[in-house]
Every structure is written in C-alpha cells, then in structure tokens.
C-alpha cells in the first residue's frame, strides 16, 4: 500500500516536471476530475455528449496506427514497445508485437499502403529470431528476459498466421506450427495450461490461445490442435464460467482473481467467440454471448465500463481503455454474427469514449500523440501513466471493424 502510494507520488511529481507530459496529466485532470457532474444522483461523465463523425474516426485510426509505427521505429529491433511517461520507451514486447501484426495487415488492406506490410513483415521476421528452441516465446518485455509463456506464445501465433496468409511464406507457418506443437505438449490432462502459464496458474483467458491454435488447425488440419483447443474451451466453460457469465481465474494476478480486469475478461470472451465461430459450436458461442451481453447491459446502464468486475458483476476501478476497446470489438463481432444493430450501436458509443480519450487536444510529442493510455484517467490503477501498445492496437482494431460493420448495417438497412 505504502509502496503504491510512493509510486503514485513519484509518478505525479515526475510527470509534472516535463512540459508535454504535464500538459497530458493536467488535461486529464481538468477534463476528467473537473468535468464530472452529478445530476439527480446520476454521474454525467465528460465524454457522455461527445460524438465523433466518420472523418474524425478515420483521423483517430490514422493517429493510432502512426503511433504504433512510431513505437516500432523507437524499438529498433522490429518489435513494438510501450511508452511510459516516467521512464520513456520500454523494450519490445514480443506477445503484443505478435498480435499487432494482424492489426497492421487489416489496416494495410484498408488503405492499400504497402510500407505497412513491410512493417508487419519486419516484426514477424524479428519474432522468428527470438522464438525459443521449445517453440514458445518469452513473457513480458524483452528486457525482462523471461521464460516462454503459453498466453504470449498464442498471441504471436496470430501474427505468424496473418503473415503466412498474406505472403504465403512457409517460414511463418513453420514458426506457428512449432509453437502449436509446444502448446499441445504442455497442456494438462484437464485441458488447462498450468506449466509455463503466467505465474504458474491456469487462466481462463487462454481461450485467446485456443483461437490461434484453431487458426493453425484450419491451415494444417492437424487434429491435435483442434482437440487441445476444445479441451481448454470445455475446461473454461464447464468449470470456470458462472451462470451469470462471470469467470473464475480470470485476472492476470492471483490476488485479484475475485475481481478480474476488463482486459482479461474481454480476452476470455473474445477467445470463446472466435473459437466458437471457427468450430461452429453453439455451446461455445452461447458462453461468449452470455458474458458479452452482461457487459452490454452494464454499459447501457452506466454509459461506461469499470476496470474490474466481481462475481456479481459489480464494477470497481477506473476505466481500463484496452478492455473497453476489446469489448467494443466483441460487440462488433457479435453484430456480424447476429446482425443485431444494438451491438453496433453500443460499440460506436464505446469508440466515441475512446476517441475522446485519445483526443487530448494538447501539444504532444510523437511518443504519445495518438496513443491510448492504460487507464482513464491516466493515473488509474491499470498501467498508470503508461501508454501500453496493446491499448492502441485494440483501439485501432475496433475502429477498423466498426467501419466494416457500419457499411454492412447501412447496406442491410437500405436493402431489407
């Protein structure tokens, strides 16, 4: 507790020393802390009447991608890092670099800008060079020099599959297959991953590992990958999901498993949804929809989502931006699946909030311009005073998917 307070005091004081960083912190202070109003016992948040038109949404997407590319340039090795207001750039984060690749490929498809593809390839090639002999990839940032971790490995497989599909270069598929073989070799009998799991504890958000395993199964038709993914999905749904859609063992800590963060809840739901779609399995899809609808209900009621949720879905802590973007993505995927426009409507409102958070309207350096912070306000508990690259990655994904869904919805409405 004391350590945490001291860290906060240090972060605040250091951030106020530098002009550009000070601007960001003060901007959040004025917009958030002074912008909140309470009318008839209802909290009116500063973003509640902020609506961004399609041009502004496109600009927000461009800014987000530009920041990601700036992050890659800042690393030098081909990977993507995060920016911390207090200490500057981190080293590359292999896991998130892996799943940033599909974002770049998606954006490349959208804008037909070939140098973006080059950026994605550069990242993929670097990831191959740091793949462990086992087939896995290390956890956390490069400087942490950790052992291979299941979840992190799964996310890099996403990048490898994306690059293989885009370039047809077999080295990416070989790398993904090697990683899948390793994942299958260490799965427990009950379907969870305990060995080489982060902190040695099984997590339900490994559903987000099952989806890339299934992606590789689709290409290779290796039944083992499919079976191992199904084993894990069954473990999650049968043993860890409550009737109300909440998940046990869902936090990325042990201490806060009683109220996991939205970031990992969304990983879990998205993994279930993606796997359910790949397997065309109603049980898995229903499990995803149950939890996604609960978040929809909470968002519709409160107009925002808290950072953490306990087993009764009671929210606590400030907004965790990455979780919000991931939730919007889930709703957009559900729009595609069900054609229920309420999902799209909610996702668009969530994206308005995130654009508001990105649009700080202060003079910023390239190190922060266009980036989404870990928390809103910036000093929230999750990744305080940091701009983790995954928050911006999911924000970009969400805007890209929103554009597709909006076009589809407008066409459907016009032709019904």
């Amino acid at each position: 507790m004391l350590k945490g307070l001291l860290r906060y005091a240090r972060n605040f004081s250091v951030s106020l020393l530098f002009k550009r960083e000070r601007n960001i912190v003060l901007r959040d202070f004025f917009r958030y802390s002074l912008g909140q109003k309470v009318i008839n016992n209802q909290t009116i948040n500063p973003w509640s009447d902020k609506i961004y038109n399609e041009t502004e949404r496109s600009e927000a997407l461009t800014k987000a991608i530009n920041w990601l590319l700036h992050s890659q340039v800042s690393m030098g090795d081909g990977g993507f890092g995060s920016y911390r207001i207090i200490t500057g750039w981190t080293t590359s984060y292999p896991e998130t670099s892996g799943y940033i690749i599909p974002t770049l490929l998606h954006y490349n498809k959208e804008v037909q800008q070939n140098d973006i593809l080059t950026n994605a390839i550069r990242c993929g090639d670097w990831l191959i060079t740091i793949q462990k002999p086992s087939g896995g990839w290390q956890g956390e940032y490069m400087a942490d020099n950790r052992a291979e971790v299941v979840f992190n490995t799964g996310q890099i497989i996403r990048g490898m599959v994306g690059l293989y599909k885009q370039t047809n270069d077999k080295k990416y598929l070989d790398s993904a297959v090697k990683a899948c073989d390793w994942l299958c070799s260490i799965q427990e009998n009950d379907g969870c991953w305990k060995k080489s799991a982060f902190m040695g504890v099984p997590r339900v958000y490994d559903s987000y590992v099952d989806a890339p395993l299934l992606q590789v199964y689709e290409i290779t038709k290796n039944e083992l990958y499919k079976q191992k993914a199904i084993n894990n999905l069954n473990w999650i749904i049968d043993k860890k999901q409550l009737e109300n859609g909440w998940f046990e063992d869902c936090d990325n800590t042990i201490k806060h498993n009683n109220r996991p963060i939205l970031h990992t809840i969304a990983y879990t739901i998205d993994g279930l949804l993606e796997s359910g779609l790949l397997l065309n399995d109603k049980k898995i899809l229903d499990a995803a929809i149950k939890s996604a609808d609960k978040l929809f209900e909470l968002f519709s009621k409160h107009k925002y989502l808290n950072g953490r949720f306990d087993r009764n879905w009671k929210g606590s802590q400030d907004i965790i931006c990455t979780g919000c973007a991931q939730t919007a993505i889930i709703w957009l995927e559900l729009y595609k699946l069900t054609k229920n426009t309420q999902y799209l409507n909610a996702a668009m409102k969530m994206n308005d909030q995130l654009i508001f958070i990105q649009d700080r309207q202060v003079n910023e350096s390239a190190n922060t311009k266009g980036a989404i912070p870990g928390s809103y306000p910036l000093w929230g508990r999750y990744e305080a005073f940091n701009f983790p690259n995954w928050a911006t990655k999911y924000f970009a994904d969400s805007l890209l998917l929103e554009k597709e869904c909006l076009q589809e919805a407008v066409t459907l409405s016009s032709t019904k």
Binding site: I39, N40, D49, I51, N53, E54, D293, F296, E297, S300, N340, T341, Q342, Y343, L344, N345, A346, M348, K349, D352, L406, A409, V410, S413, S414, K416
Partner: protein, 255 residues
C-alpha cells in the same frame, strides 16, 4: 370508474392530443392533474439549455440558419384550430387539480382519494409508490410496436429496420415499456422525408388512440394483454448513435 389525465402543462402537445381523442369518443375526463414539473425537470431543462448554448456557440451562423430553415419546412402533425378550440372549451370548465410533483406524497394521497380511475399519463417517470396505487390505472402512449420496440428512439429503429409504424396504449409499469397492452394498432404511414416528420406523425397518430383505448376499457370491449418480455438487455432499444441517424436520414430522403 373515473377518467383523468396528468400533465405538467396544459399546453403540452401530447396531453392536448390525447384529451381531444377522449373528447372525440364522448369521454369528458373527470379530472386533470396539473403537477409541477419538479426539480428533476428543472435540472433537466437547465442541462438542456446549457447543452444547446454550448453547442450553438461552436456552430457557424449558416448552420444555425440552415437549422432554423429546416425546422420551418417540416410539416407539423398537430390538432386543427377547431380541435384546439374544443380542447380549450373543455379545459375552461374542467376540474383541474393543481398538485406537487407527480411522485410526491401529496399527489399520491390525492390520487388515492379519487377512487377507481383510469388516467392518461404525461408526466415522465412514475416511481413505485405511484404505480402501486391499487385504485388507479396509468396509461402511456408508445409510438411503436410492443414488445418489439421497447426503449429509446423506437420510431427511428423501426424505420432503420424497415418495419411498419404502430401506436400502442399500455399500462405503465416499473420496467421500461413493459406494461400490459390495452390497444395496439398499425399506423398507415405516408412516405415522409425526415425523421422528425415520422416522429411527429407517429406520435400524433398514437395519441389519437387514447380515446379509443379508454372507451374500449370502460365498455369492457378491450382488456389488458400481458407482454412477452424476455428480459434480455438486447431485446430493448437504446439511443441511436448520431452516425446511424445520419444514415437513416439519408435513406429517408433517398440520398
């Protein structure tokens, strides 16, 4: 059984249209509860004014002019001059009971003392203590089909989904648009140009149903039918995102 209406203003458009539809059916309401809008409405109104000021401050003059010229060109669906006169004539001799806020203890006591009554309600949200009064049935006008279009912007969502327009008279209950239905009719809607026109038209036509619903209930020709509500959050409609509204507007004008 007595009949009545509630409103916070005798010039309220919906109130007048509903009253007129009752008069047309030969019902002369026994009372009209004219209540203060209360603090809620005041704060809501002040919030609205602030929002408008903030918005317009940022907009160009041409935007304001184009807004006002658009507003002027929208045909209004409202009572004719003769109908307005008939409403005024009735109001000049009607029993108008001034009251505090609709949910206040004194208003609850007042309604309790009325005996059995069916009341067309134009008073915003009713809280549990009002709705639990056993002697009163509170009716609401919903300008859409129920239970299909519960919630917000129901006219817009029905248009978005290319569905027919409906008017519904239902009992007010705790949940949003979940009360039992007394009367629901399809509204034959001409081809209109704007969302505002569709909204005005469907609310106007829906208000017209109030007289028929109350008469039907008093004559025992109509009874309340329970709605099949799933309770799922997605079976309800929410405020439509402005970008979707923009596309809807384009669709209506054929652009």
């Amino acid at each position: 059984m007595k009949t009545g209406l509630t409103t916070h203003s005798l010039s309220n458009k919906d109130f007048r249209e509903q009253l007129y539809s009752m008069l047309q059916q030969g019902i002369k309401p026994d009372f009209i509860i004219l209540h203060y809008s209360g603090r809620y409405r005041f704060s809501k109104a002040s919030g609205f004014i602030k929002k408008v000021l903030k918005q317009y401050k940022l907009k160009s003059l041409s935007y304001i002019l184009s807004r006002s010229s658009n507003a002027a060109s929208v045909p209004s669906y409202s009572l004719s001059t003769e109908a307005e006169k008939e409403v005024d004539n009735f109001l000049s001799s009607a029993k108008i009971i001034p009251a505090n806020g609709i949910n206040s203890a004194s208003t609850i006591a007042l309604i309790k003392g009325m005996g059995y009554a069916i009341i067309a309600c134009n008073s915003g949200k009713l809280n549990g203590s009002v709705l639990s009064l056993s002697n009163a049935i509170f009716l609401n006008v919903h300008a859409s089909k129920l239970p299909a279009y519960r919630g917000m912007n129901n006219v817009e969502w029905a248009l978005w989904e290319n569905q027919d327009m409906y008017g519904t008279i239902h009992r007010i209950s705790k949940g949003i648009d979940e009360g039992d239905i007394l009367l629901q009719e399809k509204i034959e809607t001409p081809k209109l140009q704007t969302i505002t026109e569709y909204r005005q038209f469907s609310f106007f036509k829906s208000n017209e149903l109030m007289g028929k619903a109350v008469t039907g209930y008093l004559d025992k020709k109509l009874s309340f039918v329970k709605q099949e509500i799933s309770g799922k959050p997605l079976d309800q409609y929410y405020v439509m995102h402005p970008i979707l509204k923009e596309y809807l507007a384009k669709k209506l004008t054929g652009r």
